[in-house]
Symmetry: C2
Subunit: 136 residues, 2 copies
């Protein structure tokens, strides 16, 4: 008869944490090796995906504290309040968290175009066999 | 009178590429230092955001070639056909590209729950002041 394997305590702990993350009510955001989590911005009523950016802990805290979307700019390496210059702020109405808590959906009321190009959404083109086509 | 500055050829090239990326019809996907771009999966008809993952060039090519969503698994370090084991494939109906072409929206018809937990969407919890609450 084989002896039952002794539980691997590290695996047990990781597994318990993963379970808590997936099914629990505790907010346990997980950031990657760069300290970032993906943040999807979606219009609160139309459901249109408006933009995608990254958040670090600082951006997440600033967003929760102010109710306006803050991100981490990877190119500038710092906190970025969306719309600080343009006035096109994103008012956060709800923040959803995914199963493993390393990505967020921000349901927002936009105070202007979400895209720096002036488009309502950054996702204004569709890929076809022949390249990109504008939507609308 | 000041002499006009000579154009910096590198800046000019970068700027032209950026402009082509933003306003052109050429598909010029841009991957980050890890070779990845964000991929948002959205239900084709309800608009619900179902999941978020990353794509590298290989995953993008496989998705375009097959019509089913493929991603790059960061934990396993390899190509991942979503639903290959569970059968819960994501049939891609449209692929949208953002302004700087480093993030995608996949509009899909899901062949089952998108989340490995069995939930329809990975984003099944909302953050409140007191932790997470289930949606629905």
């Amino acid at each position: 008869m084989e002896r039952p394997k002794a539980p691997n305590s590290e695996e047990t702990i990781i597994s318990k944490n993963d379970l808590d993350r997936e099914s629990g009510t505790a907010f346990l955001p997980r950031f990657d090796a760069q300290g970032l989590a993906g943040a999807i911005v979606q219009h609160e009523t139309t459901g249109e995906v408006l933009m995608f950016a990254f958040m670090d802990q600082e951006a997440l805290d600033a967003t929760r504290a102010t109710g306006f979307a803050h991100f981490h700019s990877r190119s500038r390496g710092k906190l970025w309040k969306k719309g600080e210059t343009s006035g096109h702020l994103l008012e956060v109405k709800a923040l959803l968290v995914d199963c493993d808590q390393d990505a967020f959906v921000l349901k927002v009321r936009p105070h202007g175009p979400a895209c720096h190009t002036g488009e309502r959404s950054c996702f204004y083109r569709q890929l076809g066999s022949d390249g990109l086509t504008r939507l609308d």
